[in-house]
Structure formats: structure tokens, C-alpha cells
Amino acid sequence: MSGALVRAALVALGALEGVASASQDSAEGRGFLSRYCVECHGADEPEAGLRLDETAFSDEAGAPERRWDLVGRYVERAVMPPRWAIDQPEAHERETFLEWLVSDAGPAPSEPADSVPLRRLTRRELDLTLRDVFDVRGVELPMSFPADPPDLPFDTFAPGLSVSGTHLEALLEASASIADRYAPAALTPRLVRRSRLADWNLGSAYWARRESRGFVALSGINISAWVGSLWDHHLRAPEAGVYRLRLCAMADPGVGVDGRPLRLGLYAVSPDDYDVPERALRATLPRLGELEIVPGYPREVECLVELEAGEAVQVFLENRLPSTYERYGLNRPELAVVLRRAVREPAPTVLIDALELFGPVAHLDRQLPFVRRDRGVELSEQVLQTLQPLAERAFRRPLTGEERTELVETVRAAPSYAGGMHDAVRSLVISLPLLFLDSSPPVAGEYGLASLLAYFLWSGPPDAELLHLAAGSRLSDPEVLRQQTRRLLAHGRHQAFIDGLAEQWLGNRSVENLMVCDVRQAWSETLREGILGASRAFLGEVLDENLSVRTLIDSSFTYASRPMRGVWGLPGEYESMVEIDARAYQSGVLPRLERLDLARLPAGTPPEVAERGGILGLASVLAATGDGVNSSPIRRGVWVLDMLLGEDVPPPPESVPALAPDVPADSTRAQQLAAHRASSACAACHAEIDPIGLALERYGATGGFRERYPLSAGFPEGRLGAIVEADAVLPDGSSLGGLRDLKDYVMQHPEMFTRSLASKLYRLALGRELTREERAEVQALVDREPAEGYGFADLVVEVAALLPGRLPSGSGPLER
């Protein structure tokens, strides 16, 4: 370890700032351990299963990667030795020990390799990659691709990203369906459907219609403002291509609200999306064309439509309503007037008698080079011209000569050109370079950096600009890299980064799956959505506005949806949860998130709402640490230590009984926890966990404020639950009286928070735990932090700037 790193590490531990390294005699460090630690952490039933005697230094110890880190933090924060130990080290002894711990003479923890591990993309990354590379409607990873294991520090951690036969089989399935979209089997046009509508059983509630004289009439109005068909399976394209749609229809009366002839818009819908309200959201549907329908008698009209495999054609009566009134606008009062008038007047109506879908009659433009062999050029030339751009996006780098040859050979070996191209596209989808994030030399070079950065901030593949910079070996230039990081953060795709952090750091993933099975908790689906959205919006604002990372600890603003405001007790009239849910379900619109200025809350707001600033006030964080029924002070304490202060709290040893989850009426949570801490097996860790958790006790299992506990089921009604006590003392003597104090406490140790956050970001980007050297890099970042704290975006930029150092040096770009 270099001198600079040792110094950085010393500063890290708050020891001997500016003093040249003192004695680093190994005997001193080991002496500390044997004097203060080994009595409990020795060979004989070591506490928490942690041995700190001589065996801890042997290779067989099988040390968890971060064990010595944890020992350092505990000694630094005077959590260890425990307070009840009579023999306490002096401050200078602690400092010397900490110094020794990170020195060359100190224990060598088993380090992860310092390269970026080869890892498979996460499910989300793979899905986004396929959609980006094969940019065709309906391309997605099939459901049969297993979900990633939920319990890793971050989804990107390589050890959790196994590739089983099930994964590959799902990818093979995806490869065939994607290849069909580019190089379908020979064109066999056929009649998909010809039918009189009177024969169909059309029972959907999502279209306005009436049957009359064997016609289906598109008319009237319904709640979704969808005046059109949703006949799902009846007009489905079996494969991608151009289809002929023929309609026998008439208008009655003949003009729409705009005074022009009635028009039927044609839209593509994928009936496999079962989210019916979404389907009716016309603005999001691909528009295929338009047919004008004239009055008089039923006449045949036809047009060509381009459909992807599995899509169905739906029609929509375009000028039934003024076009400004989209679905969802129907809740607006001014529209009620329009609707009332519309009901009185003769409604513009299209009557459909019969229709027919025939095809595919031609290939889509996209498909032509994949299915039609151009005899004017060499086979290899056509194959590469067609496939290479696709392959380079899929691999996130240029192809090697070998890979190019292989593509050509795949096509050459097939009995037909189109069949060969089909195979070649499939080979790209299932290929290892697509599935794996590979930054090993010499293939990846700077392209590895481009991918690393893009998957870090977008959860998706790098775009052309990043690849272009990589091609010129300019991306690792510190200035360029910083610029690019900022560009990526400003791009809409960075929402994946925010969502990922909200899910994996702020508890959104737990809240998504939280089953609130308790009538004593205020809960509804719109409340859930609000809680999830509030965390994303809060994180998004701090990042997008580049606010100080201190804002994450405490802020003068937060976000809340209407149901959340009701639960928090902000003044106003609120409907019941059931009404809010019903309205959201009918209209398809979730209650909007509003930004709350905590310094200027309306009069009558309960005082505790003003404390909601920062991530500790986010309902997702508070709810995620419970199980939907009970809040858990212990899990909250662990969360704060782990997620805010960067302490990796070990799981309780096997021998320790779990705290009974139900609260007996005659003992308070504080008393229970005190009993818990009285057991010496628990005391050490819980001396720190419990007070932090207790400070958050005034927040219930779903993140709402409470002054009393809910009563256990079965108690007589009218009896009140016990009053919540939230006073606690930390091992270092600081006392906490609630959320406010806890935030102040974290604010007093801003460097710990920054260190924790930077290390999280770094770990997320690398997909593994940090090495000692990398921890020192993080510490150096912390040391350089401006007094007001890094801007969040600035910190991300700083962390991204570390990435080139993790990639093998001297690996230039590939020759093309």
C-alpha cells in the first residue's frame, strides 16, 4: 500500500491528521486485540461467531471480506469494546490500533479481485438492452427468464447473477421471436380473418357501441373516452409484415364534431398486454393509418397496415370528440358540458358491417435486407452490411475478425439466405458478448468503460456517442469522462439509475411487494404508488438539481401524493382511501405527487410533518424496514447503520432467539429492547442498533406517524395502545429523542454519510465489494468534499471518474 493511501486511510479514521505515520508495530495491533477483544472473541464460543485471536490472521479463517472494516468502525465509534467492559482502551490506543489495521502490517483481509468482474446483465439491464438493440415494437425479455435473486447488496453483484439452463432457454425463446421480426420465414399471405361483426361475441366494456341491424356501431361515449373497438384476438397478425385491411362500413350521420367526414384511426394493440386501461390510452398506441367513412350505404374501404407479430388492429373513431379531449380528460369539469351537449345531439356514428385482414402481402422495409439476397454484391458483404451495425450495438463494441467470419459462415451454412439471416440474428441475441458485461482486455478496451458507465447510469447499453468516444480512445480522458457522465445524467434514460437506487437503497422494492395485512394500518394501492413515487421524485430532484448530498440527510422539501397527505394529516378534505382507489382505477390516473415545502406548510399541519425532509422521512424507508404489519426498530436501526453510515451489520448469530414480533400490551417496545440488550450475546451490536431504531419508533409499519402503538388484535375496543417512547442513548453518549435528533446525529457525521454513499455508488458500478485500495479512493473523495457537501450529481461524476482506474490499462480500441 502506498504512503498516500495509508495517509488517506488514517484521515479516514479521524486519527492523527497531518501526523506522519506512527509506529505500526504489528505486536501493538495484535496486542490490542488480545487485550481487549479475545476474551469474548476467542476460541471458546466466540461472540457473534467472530474470532479475533491468532486464527483470524490465517488464510483458513475464511474471513468475510468486510470483517476488518467492521472491526475498525466499531472501535472507531466506541461501540467495541462494549461499555460494560471494565478494561477500556485509551483514545490513543484506539487510534494506534486503527492505524495498524489499515497498514501493511495489519491483517490482510481476503480481497476481491481488483478488476471489474465479468458478469451477466441483470434482468432489467438485459430487457433494456434487447429493446434498445432490436428496436422493434414488442421486443422484450420473455417472462420465462427468471427473476434475479432479491437479497444481494445490489442487483449488479456478480455472484448473484448466475446463468442457468432456464436462463439460456428463455433467451433462446426470445432469440427466435426477435429473429422472426427481422427475417421471417417465407411470405405466405393468407386470409387472417374475414367476418361479419354480427358473428363476433364482443363483450368488452371498453368501447362504446351498440348493435343495430347486424352492424356494430361505434358511437356514444364511455368513461375511457375510447370510442372504438377492442376486439383483441380477432384481427391478430400471425407474423410481422404488411397486411391489407378491408372494412365494409358507413357513417351515420356523416360528419364529426370538427365538421369533416368521420375518420377511423387504425391502431396496433398487443393483446398480450393485459393492462386494459393502458391499452385504451390511444396516445401511447402505434398509429397505423386512417380510413374515411362516408354516409349512405355500407361501402368497402381498404388500406395497408404494418403490423408486428402478434399485434391486432383496433379502430378508433377519431372525430367523435374534439381531439383535445383525450382519455383521462374525462374527469375534467369542462368536458362534462361538452358531453352533455354531445348526448343531446345526434351522435356521429360509424356502422361496421364486416371486415377482413389479409397478409402479410409484403415484407416491412426493415426486413428487406434480411430476406432478399442482392445478387449484385458478395454474400459476405451483404451479410456484414446488414448485420454488423446490429451486432455492434448488441456487443457494445466492434466485432473481431473472427466474429465477422462467424456471422458470414452462419448465413452461408443455411439452406436459404433468409433462413441463415434468421439464425444469425438469433446467434446475436443469445451470444455471450450481449449477455455479459465484459471489460477484460484486449477485446473490450475503452468500450468496456463505455459499457460500464452506461449500465451504471442507464441500466442499458452505451449509445453511439459513447461508443464513438471509445473508438477514439478519448473516453478515459478525465475531462471527457466527466462531461459524458453529466450528459448521461441529463438524459431521460437516467431514470433507470434513480429507480434502481430507490428500489435497492430506499426500500422501494420491499414496498412494491409489501403486503399490508392489517386493518389497523392506513393502506391502499394509491398510497403504495404514492410512497414509491415520492422516493423516486425526491431522489430525482436531489440528483437533477445537483443538490448537496446533505439534502439526503435532511431537506426542506419532500414529496407526497394526496392519499399520503391525508394520512399525514395535512389540512384539507380527503375522500376515503377506497374512493381514491376507485377513482384512480376508473380514470387510470394516479393521484399526483406534490412537492411539499416543509418550511411553509399550511397552518394546521401536524408539527411532525415538518420533520419529513431527507431520506429518513421517506415513507418507503420507514415501511420497507417493517413487514407491513409490525414496524421493527431493529431492522430500522440496521438499515440506518448500513444504508446511511455504511456499517455492514452482521446477521445475529444462530443461537440468538428472535425478538417476538407481537407487542404484549403490558410491555413497551423500549422495555422489550432493553431486555434484549441485557443479554450479553446481543448487547454489543444492539447497543447501537436499538437506540437508532427506537428513535424512529414514532413511525408505524407503513410509514405513518403515531403516538401510540396499535393494539394487538383481540383487545377490547376503545382501549388505547401503549404510548410510543422514542428516547434512547447511543454508545457514545449522544441521546436521541426522535427522527429530528437522529438526523442531527447523522448530520454531525457528514463524512460517514458521504463515505457510505460514495462506496455504495462505487459498489453498484463495479458489481462487487470494494478492495482496500478502492476504499482508500472513496476516502480520498470524502477528504476532498467541500464544506457544504458534494452535489449529488457531482459525487456520481467523481465516482464515475474512478472507473477507468479499475479497467486494465493499455488496452486500446480494437482495430476495425
Binding site: P149, S162, V163, S164, T166, D232, L432, F436, M515, V629
Partner: protein, 430 residues
């Protein structure tokens, strides 16, 4: 299980039965496939099929175990004339393993909180070697939680088929055109896999040891997929059974949670057909949890399925919950009845050679008790006596996995342990 005195467990006998034959029974399986089954089973007395079912929201325990007069949830079994063919078991669970309120619902057949292999997947390679599908994982529509029950050795959760129509195609195919398409896809897929081996080798040459391990795992998976494709290829041209006359899927399909019961009914029938036709011998079926209200008869339940499980001892809500859960039991009874009516020759029925497990890792959903799982084992040639009461909390060494060890023994495995098992129930059940 010699260290438990037999007095700790008591056998109870169910009450007398009336028999109502379900319509599936009359379908049976074709003679051809049944002959194949008899020829394929080596040891006639052992069971060689396994069905693992779990309603993820549990079953109301007071009407599942004997104890009250004529328990509501046992009626469908009795009415189907299944007495003597099933045993419910009380007092067993996964003990220490705790997670959030519904956290362990999917871990019934693994027995551990950490991802590990599930019972069906352990049995599948051997039992399923002779059928079109080594195993099938099924659920019924959308779920609020991950609806999977099946896990591989590496802890990968196997996604379950959630649409009855997809299951239908698995069983009966997609016509001649679908067959050709599948054959050509499998052929090209197999040759494409060869390229992956080359790709992995070239990467392996330039990465460190941990990465090399990951590539080894990858190559192993490639090899396993090759075997799966070869197997599928072999089956492509084999004749598929026809769906029985009168059996058709409804015109529209919805996976919305509110359609849970309708979808589950279809799944029960399709699984029955899969077993009768010998399309697969290993099945897991999770009856998912949903927040939506369900349709009973022509009206919807007064609140969502999940809410109903938190009935607060309100008799009206319990009655509604029991209507929902009775549908699950009727589905199970219909499957068992149909298997029991399918002769395998030598006086045995398909149910005799199929171990049907039905239970939940939720002891009582109303209070999130994760003790005393409702468990039922049927068929498989076990010695069934209606009910087996294990000691429950007083016996910390009696685990739900003990039952699974005995199931493995019944299926011809000689494993002495599985998941969190402490022993087995061989003495009680055989």
C-alpha cells in the same frame, strides 16, 4: 422416527362419504399412453409421479383439520369419495425460518429461507425422464407476490406458466405448422449453442479465476440446455394427445387477479389431463395471492381475497373465505378423483402412483402464523388414515420436510434428509 413415541401422534378417521363423479373422470387417458406408463415404471409398488400444490394464502386451519363437526374444507374430498386416499397432517412447519408476514409462502417445498432446491425439482430429473416435459411449473393468473414454488439446485426461481392457454399449448401443441416451426427452431438453436461454447472458451483465456468459475457455470448451463433441446427435439414429432371432446378454453382469457378461481379451475383440469396423458410426471402449481375480489357464483366476494384471509373472526367473512378455499379443495379433489379413476393395470390407479401434496407455508393467514402448516398428502400408495397429528410446537424436531423425505422414499429415492428435515414419516405413512 423411532425417537418419537407413537402416542404423540394420533390417527383420525374421516367420516363416511358420498361419491360424486367429476366429469374429467370419463376422459381418462388413451390406451396407448397408459401402456407406456406401465411399461415405463420399473418398480410397480413405488410411486413415480409428484404433484406439489400450494395456495399461497393458506387455508383456514379450523375447517381444514378434523376437530370440528364435518370440516368445510374436507367436504369436497369426502364428496369425491377420496376417503382412505389422503391424509392431512397437523403440527408440522419449517420451525425457525422466519421472514416477513408472507415472506416464506413460496418456500413450502424447499424448507429453507435461503434459495435451495425444491422437492419437485429434486425429483424431476429421474421421474420426468420418460415424458415430454421433465416438469411443469404452473400458476393461475397474475399474482401480488412471486408465485413460484420451484427452485433449481442453484436457487434459481423457475417462473410459472400463468396463462391457461399457454399450458394448453404445452399439452396439445399448436398444430402442424407449430410443430414444423418448433422443429426448425430447435435445430437451429442447437447449432447456435455450439457457438456459445467457442465464445466462452475465448473469453476464459483472458480472465481471472473468479470469472473463469462463472464461465464454467455458463458452459455447464449450455450443456444442460443442449440436453433439454435434444429432448424437446425428440418429442416434437411424437404424437400429441388430443384435447378431450367438449374441452375447450374460453374465448377470452384474462390473467387479472379477479379471475383467479376461473383460471385455477382450468389449470386443475389441464394438469389432470397432463398426468393422464403422461405429458409430464412432475408438477408444481401455486395458487397465487391476489388483492382482488373473486367471483363466487354470480357475485363477487365482499372484499379482496387477501383481505378476506384477515377476517378478524367475523363469521360472515370467514364464510366467504371458506367459499374461496372450498374451490381450491374442490379443484384438488377433482384432480385426485380423476387420477383415482384412471386405471394403470394390475389393479392400480394413476393416483396410486402419484404423490399429491397440497398445503401452504402459511399456518393461519389471519394472524400470519407460520406454524402448523395445513398439509395434505394423497395417493402415492401411502397408508392413508385421514389425519395424522404431529406434536407441533412441543416437538422442535418435527419438520414439514420430514413429510417430504418420506415422499422421496415413496418415489424411490433413498435420501435421508431434505431441506430442514429432522427425520421422516415413513413409519406413520407406510
Amino acid at each position: 422416527m423411532s425417537f418419537y413415541p407413537p402416542s404423540r401422534r394420533a390417527f383420525l378417521l374421516g367420516s363416511t362419504a358420498t361419491v360424486a363423479l367429476p366429469w374429467l373422470e370419463s376422459w381418462g387417458a388413451s390406451k396407448r399412453s397408459l401402456r407406456a406408463q406401465v411399461a415405463g415404471s420399473g418398480e410397480p409398488t413405488l410411486a413415480d409421479r409428484l404433484v406439489c400444490v400450494s395456495p399461497l394464502l393458506g387455508l383456514h386451519p379450523h375447517q381444514f383439520f378434523p376437530g370440528v363437526q364435518d370440516p368445510v374444507l374436507r367436504r369436497p374430498l369426502v364428496e369425491a369419495g377420496l376417503e382412505g386416499q389422503f391424509t392431512t397432517i397437523s403440527g408440522l412447519d419449517h420451525k425457525g425460518a422466519l421472514a416477513g408476514a408472507h415472506g416464506l409462502a413460496h418456500a413450502l417445498y424447499t424448507g429453507t429461507a435461503s434459495p435451495s432446491i425444491s422437492l419437485d425439482q429434486l425429483a424431476a430429473p429421474r421421474l420426468g425422464a420418460v415424458t415430454r416435459y421433465e416438469s411443469l411449473q404452473v400458476t393461475a393468473g397474475d399474482s401480488q407476490q412471486r408465485p413460484t414454488l420451484s427452485f433449481t439446485k442453484a436457487g434459481v426461481a423457475l417462473p410459472a406458466i400463468s396463462r391457461p392457454s399457454e399450458l394448453f399449448v404445452k399439452l396439445f401443441g399448436a398444430g402442424e405448422q407449430g410443430k414444423q416451426r418448433e422443429a426448425s427452431r430447435l435445430d437451429s438453436g442447437t447449432s447456435l449453442l455450439d457457438e456459445l461454447v467457442g465464445q466462452a472458451r475465448s473469453v476464459r483465456a483472458r480472465v481471472d479465476a473468479a470469472d473463469r468459475d462463472r464461465l464454467e457455470e455458463y458452459l455447464e448451463s449450455v450443456r444442460s440446455v443442449e440436453q433439454r433441446l435434444a429432448r424437446r427435439r425428440e418429442w416434437v414429432n411424437r404424437e400429441r394427445p388430443e384435447p378431450p371432446d367438449g374441452f375447450a378454453l374460453p374465448d377470452t382469457e384474462s390473467t387479472d387477479g379477479s379471475m383467479l378461481l376461473e383460471n385455477a379451475d382450468l389449470v386443475w383440469d389441464l394438469l389432470t389431463l397432463a398426468l393422464q396423458n403422461d405429458t409430464t410426471r412432475v408438477v408444481s402449481f401455486s395458487i397465487p395471492m391476489t388483492l382482488r375480489a373473486l367471483k363466487i357464483g354470480d357475485r363477487f366476494t365482499s372484499s379482496g381475497y387477501h383481505n378476506l384471509t384477515h377476517h378478524g373472526n367475523d363469521p360472515a367473512r370467514i364464510a366467504e373465505l371458506l367459499q374461496v378455499e372450498s374451490r381450491h379443495m374442490r379443484g384438488a379433489a377433482r384432480l385426485m378423483r380423476a387420477l383415482a379413476s384412471t386405471p394403470l393395470g394390475e389393479g392400480r390407479t394413476l393416483l396410486d402412483s402419484t404423490v399429491v401434496l397440497f398445503g401452504s407455508a402459511v399456518g393461519d393467514a389471519s394472524t400470519h402464523v407460520r406454524r402448523n402448516f395445513p398439509l395434505l398428502v394423497a395417493g402415492g400408495g401411502f397408508r392413508h388414515r385421514g389425519h395424522l397429528a404431529c406434536a407441533g410446537v412441543e416437538a422442535p424436531n418435527e419438520m414439514a420436510c420430514d413429510l417430504f423425505v418420506s415422499v422421496l422414499h415413496r418415489l424411490g429415492f433413498d435420501d435421508e434428509s431434505f431441506g430442514s428435515s429432522a427425520s421422516n414419516l415413513d413409519r406413520e405413512l407406510t
